[in-house]
């Protein structure tokens, strides 16, 4: 008789880039990776590839950083222009 067991060949759950990383409005470098270098607009989830929770956290942190004067609004901080690319966007 075949024994009932859960699929042993299951893949581990897919994690997004920020899964497990604490998102803070203070680390502007991390937040600037999800912002356009030309307009400073925040990328959508289809570009960043984050899960719903993390995308919301990142958006709230970026808007907080804008208001508190940590991150520029209309462009990306030129210091962080050469950071590794996290979003799949083609310029």
């Amino acid at each position: 008789q075949p024994m009932q067991m859960e699929n042993p060949y299951k893949d581990p759950p897919k994690r997004c880039v920020l899964c497990g990383i604490n998102v803070d409005y203070k680390n502007v470098q991390l937040l600037s990776q999800f912002v356009s270098p030309y307009t400073g607009s925040i990328y959508g989830r289809h570009i960043t590839g984050l899960c719903k929770k993390k995308q919301k956290e990142v958006t709230k942190a970026i808007k907080r950083a804008h208001v508190f004067g940590f991150m520029p609004v209309m462009f990306k901080n030129p210091q962080f222009l050469t950071d590794p690319k996290l979003c799949n966007i083609k310029y």
Binding site: R15, K53, K54, V67, G69, F70
Partner: protein, 94 residues
């Protein structure tokens, strides 16, 4: 620099008077602001960032925002709740 020390001292004293318990005072450095901020009839380009960790009843918030708004040396003021750090249970995309 003595001016920044005086500003910090004033704010912390005002906070303690209203009954807040100050836990930590961090200096996040002095850097040029990401955009020019005009406050109190002046266009500011550089500023010092400070983070005060405190425990206080929520009734203090509005009076402190008033107090800090009247202070000329404070460019931008804000109160935030402590972020609840619970990020270890992120189970990935379903």
């Amino acid at each position: 620099k003595p001016e920044t020390a005086a500003v910090l001292k004033r704010t912390v004293e005002a906070l303690m008077e209203k009954g807040a318990i100050v836990r930590k005072l961090e200096n996040l450095g002095e850097r040029s602001l990401p955009y020019k901020i005009s406050k109190h009839k002046e266009r500011h380009r550089r500023g010092g960032y400070f983070l005060i960790d405190l425990e206080a009843p929520p009734s203090i918030v509005s009076s402190m925002m008033d107090h800090l708004g009247r202070d000329i040396d404070v460019i931008r003021r804000a109160f935030i709740k402590h972020p609840v750090t619970k990020a270890e249970e992120c189970s990935g995309i379903i």
